[in-house]
């Protein structure tokens, strides 16, 4: 019923506007083309003039109003660099934006056709055109140089002591893998994937046996972290908005991103004034039905907290393999551990 009423009202409104428009067209024909153009020209010029400040003030007002809703300050070191290039770009483009929009609407109003006013035959001015080619070019150079300065820093190879985590996207969740005690991510092969082995880890490779696949992504504050990003099926995108991290997850072609968390989750909660704040990992590349729900919780901790957490995590091998197999394999793992210890002592 309400639908019918709404549709009825819409149709009514449209036909009223249409009738008014038809009549006004008739009136203007009666008035004569010249007179009616004079009348409408003034009104339209004024409307454009009024639009300009409303629009520009609206831009500023809305930016201030929604400022609190933007991503909070960056939680990673390189994120601050990104934010600074963003701000530089905002200043440059903001300046151009206001100058050109004001000029556009002001000129439109100011130079509307009016009786006794003439147009100026002014087809070109090479000097002027040269300047407004050179000045934007200078601005662009500034933006490119600042941008690329940080781009190379952000994409530089990860430092040797970086923590390495592998993250694999699949429809529709993320799988994070930590290397375990040996510090090595074991070999994997997509043909070995099954419900009990979500990454297709190759159990023949000893290095896989202590790999940990937790349900949350844990990071260490102040520690450079290199994520190796993979996909099991279609393309995904590893997206950590608070850390200003995005990198495609491409099946068969691992990608990497190195970043350093700046605040623990606890610290961030204080900074944003929200005791319930949490970091989140999202997927930013369309990947199918539940693309919008490929979420993983992210926790940033101190090194001590992290060490305690990871100690509690069982290697994936133990959950993946039926109990006897684990028992069989355990001595081998033990041996390896001893070997590692021996090496440490040396």
């Amino acid at each position: 019923m309400t639908t019918i009423i709404i549709v009825g009202i819409i149709v009514l409104l449209i036909s009223i506007v249409f009738q008014v428009a038809k009549t006004s067209e008739m009136v203007s024909t009666l008035k004569g083309a010249a007179q009616s153009r004079k009348d409408s020209n003034n009104i339209l010029g004024i409307l454009l003039l009024v639009f300009m400040p409303v629009f520009l003030i609206g831009c500023i007002w809305s930016a201030m109003h929604f400022h609190k809703d933007f991503l909070p300050e960056s939680a990673s070191v390189h994120g601050d660099w990104i934010d600074s290039v963003f701000n530089t770009t905002l200043i440059v483009t903001g300046l151009v934006f206001f100058l050109t929009q004001i000029a556009l609407f002001w000129f439109a109003f100011r130079y509307r056709e009016q009786e006794g006013k003439k147009a100026l035959y002014y087809p070109e001015n090479n000097k002027l055109e040269m300047w407004w080619t050179i000045i934007p070019a200078i601005f662009m150079t500034v933006l490119v140089v600042t941008g690329l300065f940080y781009w190379y820093k952000i994409t530089a190879p990860a430092p040797k002591d970086a923590m390495v985590i592998e993250v694999t996207g699949k429809q529709f969740n993320w799988i994070a893998r930590y290397p375990g005690k040996d510090g090595k991510l074991g070999h994997k092969n997509f043909t070995l994937i099954n419900d009990n082995n979500v990454e297709g880890l190759d159990w023949n490779d000893e290095a896989t046996k202590d790999d940990i696949i937790p349900t949350e992504l844990h990071l260490v504050v102040g520690k450079p972290t290199k994520v190796i990003v993979n996909s099991r099926d279609v393309m995904h995108n590893f997206d950590l908005p608070h850390f200003r991290v995005k990198i495609d997850a491409v099946p068969g072609i691992p990608t990497t991103f190195c970043f350093t968390p700046k605040y623990t989750t606890e610290e961030m909660r204080v900074r944003v004034g929200n005791p319930k704040f949490n970091f989140e990992l999202a997927c930013a590349q369309i990947c199918g039905q539940s693309h919008y729900a490929m979420k993983m919780a992210v926790v940033v901790q101190t090194q001590a907290e992290f060490d305690a957490w990871i100690k509690d995590q069982k290697p994936y091998y133990e959950t993946a393999m039926p109990a006897p197999a684990v028992a069989e394999a355990a001595p081998a793992a033990e041996e390896k551990k001893n070997e590692a210890k021996k090496e440490e002592k040396k």
Binding site: T29, F51, I82, Y111, L120, P241
Partner: protein, 613 residues
């Protein structure tokens, strides 16, 4: 004089004025026949009729594409509500009044595809290149009227195939308008990648054939069939923009065709150009490995980036022309305008990887694309300054077309500037794949190109149909669309800055950007209203065709270009007598004492200074 006699004229004759003339005056050969409904309205070879066919088809697609966006905006704005009419419209794709998540993706995908290819390429370039090229360069018709007709019918065929994909049981393509594989290659990954995606690929292949046939024709006509005196530097900027658009299309569409063909092979012949190490639906695809989906991105964007200029260049041309006519002033910096279009056209081929900064590409390669991308902003800026300088000290007549042209400039500024954030790879890491990108390209390309289209329709409607559109409706249409578009797309920057990714069915499950829901609701409400308000354009367009005020002057806007020297109802062949000779450039507005205008057909006065030769 009727157009009957001209109709059976052999194609060659069209090129020769004298012969055309002869045909016109003597009913010879004896095989004279009447225009039938079919030969006049359906299988017409008259470029003017073909242009109108493109326009009406484009309007049809714009309504469909707009409807799609209204539907998915309802989901985004009101994720928790159920609407009965969605079920009646979409059937099992919207059980109990809520759009299915996979169908949501299908709607978004089809919206993008339809708008970019069918409306803003086929509809915009197809309409105005066809309509204006022969009329403004002084030619009887296109170089090949038959291929021109074929180009339209390929467009129709492609449209039919695309439209049919709505009716297959697994739904239309749903991998996004960029159809990145593996998602688009695997029916197991998303339902739309079954038959729907297959039809999508076939349709696009047909579309490319249409675009190439059209493009080759446009280039041939502009280069070879200009009337006497019409040198390249006396061409209106519209023609320059159509020429460059056609060249961009000819060079880049074939790459999209190969890109699509390889995807077709991967989908149906078991090749693996784009596939590698995939485990899906419980099995590993061991047969198809070794490919790279990054390769697809390179091929796609090699077309994709020129494509965005294929969309915007004709709009720029139309706007330049409309601004000069309305401001009664020469376009400022004619040569710089051509130069900047050439620069934009050339550079548009070497910036494509700015769509792939986070694909894991070599950082050095990325930096090259940053430099090239920001260089392309310079000619874009020059164009903006020149448009503003054109209206400076003009004597602007506000018509719906001049309002839309001014609106275009405003939108192009707003959207172009956000390109500088995205073009800087460092900032792009944060903003890519978020609503900030959606805001950028809708303002700079989507809405702006629509404004160019509207400006063109309002301006050349009298030439197309011999009647005027209703001005009052035009003004209402402009202000509602202009203000509405900013209200819709401006806030999307904020959503992007809150981290909201594109392609999300709903975002309420995330703490990070879930709070942007209120803003989504606002955007959706405005979007639906603005979509409905387009009815004022639709009514105006079709009503005025039959009931609009009749055009009584040959040159109603007092313009200088050649199309206004044809009879009000121009026959097939355009001019009844000889094609007029051109003596000057097209922008001699207010040259004498700041008043009047001098048509291109007016000979130079003794001692008059000539700007361009």
């Amino acid at each position: 004089m009727s157009s009957t006699a001209t109709h059976h004229v052999s194609e060659e004759a069209i090129y020769h004025k004298a012969e055309w003339h002869a045909h016109h005056h003597h009913e010879h050969n004896g095989h004279d026949h009447q225009d039938t409904f079919f030969s006049k309205y359906i299988f017409s070879q008259d470029h003017k009729m073909i242009a109108k066919q493109f326009l009406v088809t484009g309007i049809f697609w714009a309504i469909i594409g707009g409807l799609m966006s209204a539907l998915f905006r309802i989901q985004l704005g009101y994720p928790d509500e159920h609407f009965g009419f969605l079920s009646s419209l979409l059937g099992h794709w919207a059980p109990d009044g809520k759009i299915d998540p996979q169908y949501y993706l299908a709607l978004v995908t089809m919206h993008g595809t339809i708008m970019v290819f069918f409306v803003l390429t086929g509809g915009l370039s197809g309409t105005f290149s066809n309509f204006l090229i022969p009329l403004q360069v002084g030619a009887r018709d296109m170089a090949s009227p038959a291929l021109n007709m074929l180009s339209y019918w390929m467009f129709v065929l492609s449209s039919v195939v695309m439209f049919s994909s709505y009716f297959v049981s697994s739904g239309p393509a749903s991998a996004g308008w960029t159809v990145y594989p593996p998602l688009s290659a695997l029916p197991e990954a998303v339902k739309g990648s079954g038959t729907g995606q297959g039809l999508w690929l076939i349709s696009i292949a047909l579309f490319i054939v249409s675009a190439l046939l059209g493009g080759l024709n446009y280039v041939a006509t502009i280069l070879n069939m200009r009337t006497k005196g019409m040198t390249m530097t006396r061409l209106p900027l519209t023609i320059w923009s159509f020429l460059l658009t056609a060249i961009l299309g000819i060079l880049s569409f074939p790459v999209l065709l190969s890109c699509a063909l390889l995807l077709i092979f991967d989908r149906s012949l078991g090749t693996s150009f784009y596939l590698n190490e995939i485990y899906i639906n419980g099995h590993a695809m061991v047969e198809q490995t070794g490919g790279s989906s990054i390769l697809f991105q390179h091929l796609f964007w090699f077309l994709g980036h020129p494509e965005v200029y294929i969309v915007i260049l004709p709009a720029m041309g139309l706007v330049s022309e409309v601004l000069a006519v309305s401001a009664r002033k020469p376009i400022f910096g004619y040569k710089a305008m051509i130069g900047s279009m050439l620069a934009i056209g050339g550079l548009s081929f070497i910036v494509w990887a700015h769509h792939m900064f986070v694909s894991g590409m070599n950082p050095f390669v990325g930096s090259i694309f940053v430099v090239l991308t920001l260089i392309i902003a310079v000619p874009s800026a020059v164009k903006v300054f020149n448009w503003i300088a054109t209206i400076w000290r003009g004597s602007i007549r506000f018509t719906p077309q001049s309002l839309f042209a001014i609106g275009f400039v405003s939108l192009f500024i707003s959207g172009g500037l956000t390109g500088l954030f995205l073009g800087n790879s460092t900032v792009d890491i944060e903003l890519t794949k978020t609503y900030f990108v959606v805001a950028h390209f809708h303002i700079v390309m989507g809405v702006a190109a629509f404004f160019g289209l509207f400006a063109g329709v309002y301006h050349w409607y009298p030439k197309m149909f011999g009647r005027y559109m209703n001005n009052t409706l035009g003004y209402i249409h402009f202000f509602v669309t202009f203000i509405g578009s900013y209200l819709i797309f401006w806030p999307m920057h904020y959503q992007g800055m809150a981290g909201l990714p594109r392609w999300y069915y709903t975002h309420s499950s995330y703490e990070t950007f879930g709070h942007m829901g209120e803003l989504s609701k606002f955007i959706s409400t405005v979007a639906v209203i603005v979509f409905l308000m387009q009815v004022f354009f639709i009514i105006n367009f079709f009503y005025s065709m039959y009931k609009g005020r009749k055009v009584t002057e040959q040159n109603p806007w007092e313009a200088t270009t050649l199309e206004w020297t044809t009879p009000i109802e121009a026959p097939h062949g355009n001019w009844e007598g000889d094609i007029p000779e051109v003596h000057r450039w097209p922008y001699d507005y207010s040259k004498e004492n700041g008043e009047g205008f001098i048509t291109q057909t007016t000979p130079m006065k003794p001692g008059e200074v000539q700007l361009h030769h």
